[in-house]
Every structure is written in C-alpha cells, then in structure tokens.
Symmetry: C2
Subunit: 208 residues, 2 copies
C-alpha cells in the first residue's frame, strides 16, 4: 500500500529519490567526495552496481545529490519565506528560516551547501559550479529581499543591499558552523538576536 501523489512515479524514480535523500544526508556528515558508492549502497541496502546504474558515474551521483539538496533547501527556506509579505518581514523570514534550517538539522551534518562548498572550493568542475551557483542564487535572493525592504522605506539605503545580505548570511552561517562544532544550541539564539539587532539598527529614516 502506498500513498499516491499527483503523479505515479516509476520504481526507478522512487529508488533514485531514496538514494539521493540518503546521499545528501551522508554527504553532510562524511563529505560528498569521500562518500563512496559502496558506502551508499550499503546504507540504502542495494548492490553497488545496482545503485551505480542510476547515475552512470560518481560525478553524476554528486550532481544529482546537489540538485536534490537544493530542492530541499528551497522547500525549507525559500518557499516558506515567500509567504511573508515583501519587505523587512520577508528579510527576517528568510534569515529566521535559514537559522531554523540549521537548527532543525534538516541535514544531519548541518547546512549541505556550507559543508560541500568548503569541500569543493578548490576542485574545479561541474559539481563545484553547481554548488557555487546555488549559494550565489541564495545570496542574490536575500539581497533582493533587502532591496525591496529598502525601496519600501523599511531599511536605510546608505549601505548596499549586497553588503547587508552578506552580514545577515554571515551570522546565520556562523551559527550553523559553530553548532556543528560545539553542539551548543545557544548559537542559534545568538545568531537570531544579532540579525534582529542588525535589522533594527538599519531601520528608520524613511526618507533616504
């Protein structure tokens, strides 16, 4: 018995999804590169070759894993924040969901992209490109949200949106990194408070 959603997925697609979910989890813990086909096959209770056939190469698996993680990130952070009204509220929602995404351990090893970006920083190729693109689009989205808040007069305009986004992201990222290292959930409060304070300090002066 199985819940049928909008589209009936073929067997192959279902196993593929299951593999990728597990792969994304393991990648945040062990790394995307050191995660071997054999390890993943064992974790999904499949044969090495059976799993391998889904992706054609290890790089194919890595790319699919990055895409899978990106979808999850969008669903967990971007999509819910879109529910908030444009402007400061949405900026805050984005940051808050970003912190929550680390806090709730959507991936068991913390933010997938924080982990893998460090791993692939100096490994040119399509995998690195896709990770970079994803992070860039996150930062750009955050930047645009800040811009909208500025245009709405909710945030001062004497600092570029790009740099404000940089600061907000920095605080969220730091909580992710430090939690993974020290396992002290207080860092999430620190990040949220610092973000709120920073946004507060950028408010007022409707005319800019």
């Amino acid at each position: 018995m199985e819940i049928q959603t909008t589209v009936r997925k073929t067997k192959g697609e279902r196993t593929r999804d299951a593999i990728l979910t597990r792969a994304a989890e393991l990648a945040t813990q062990e790394g995307l590169e050191p995660l071997s086909i054999g390890r993943l096959a064992e974790a999904t209770e499949m044969s090495k070759s059976g799993l391998f056939a889904h992706f054609g190469s290890k790089q194919g698996l890595q790319l699919a894993t990055v895409d899978h993680a990106a979808q999850l990130f969008v669903a967990e952070v971007i999509a819910p924040a879109r529910a908030a009204p444009r402007g400061l509220a949405r900026v805050w929602a984005l940051c808050d969901h970003m912190v929550a995404y680390s806090e709730r351990q959507v991936f068991p090893g913390g933010c997938f992209f924080a982990a893998t970006s460090f791993e692939f920083n100096n490994k040119p190729g399509p995998v690195r490109d896709r990770i970079e693109e994803m992070i860039r689009s996150w930062l750009t989205y955050l930047e645009h949200a800040v811009e909208q808040a500025q245009e709405a007069g909710e945030l001062r305009r004497d600092r570029p949106a790009r740099e404000i986004a940089f600061e907000l992201d920095a605080l969220a990222q730091a909580s992710n990194a430090q939690y993974q290292l020290f396992r002290d959930p207080a860092v999430f409060d620190h990040a949220r408070r610092a973000i709120r304070e920073r946004l507060e300090s950028l408010r007022g002066l409707k005319a800019a």
Copy 2:
C-alpha cells in the same frame, strides 16, 4: 649553505617541518582526510614509506598538521594583534589580522581551521578534538579581548562579550568562505567595514 637559527635542527626535524608545511597547504585545498600519504610524498618528492615513518600513522600526520597550522595561525593572527594595546584597539587588530590572514592566502585554500572543521565535524576522534580546541581558543581569546574593551569603557556592556565575539568572527569567517567560493576580493572590504561599523555601534556610553 644554510641559515642557522637559534637552534640547529636535525635533518629529520627539517624534513618534518617541510612535510607539514606542504601538508597544511594541501589540506586546505584537497581536505585533510583525502590528502593521501602517496599524494603528499609525491608533492614533497619523498618516498611514501620515508614520509610515513615520520608520523607512524595517517592520524599522526593529521594531528601534526593541525598543530603546525595552529602555530602558523597564532603567528599570523594572534601574535601581531598582541602588539596592539589592550581594549578596542586589540579587538580591531584581531579582526583585521583575521581577515588579512584569509586575504593574504596564508593557506592557499583559505583558513585552515574553517576548512578542516567542516570536514571533521562529524568524525569523532583526536583530530576533530584538536581542531575544535583550536577554534574554541581563538573564540575565547577574541571574547576576552572584547571583555577588556568593555572593562575599559570602550565598548558597551549591554551585550555579552561572547556574543559580540560571535558576531565579529562570523563576519571574518564569511569573507573567508565567500572569497574561496566567488574569488571576489571585495568581500574582505565588506567584512572589515561591517566589523568596524559593528564596533562603532557598540561604542560610547562610558558608564554601563
């Protein structure tokens, strides 16, 4: 012909240092775990077994590499900042040197500890412990510097030093991470400006 420093080092010690310097460089680029003995032997133009004998195990090599990197970090960031007078000046010096340490690419792949901490986050053991300890001591040192600035009346006391250190470190770390990803040196300016502004906003109100 060789420059003789205070203490004449034995041949073994000199090779060991050379190996560790190269190992720390490669570790920030390829990772500390994926950096294989064979790769490192090739990079240092030694035999696998000749190199191996210096450390007894791969873990021994990793621990020695972390210690080596820690010494370099202290020499590049902590030591020069100690030249600045206690208080706000030293806080700024610490942050500025931290950013400069990423900017000057002391390690070719960016901050050694940022890279390796993500890698070992979920790999319990002595290597992870030592990385964690090093980062903790950096954050504690920064926190103490903030405390001194607060006690000197140069920074407000209505926010715990710990959290201020968290924020400052976050900004420096973000510039390191983003530079490695996007290769845009402007992020170092963003970080420095954000840090300066944050410290500025925490100034004044001598009585707290």
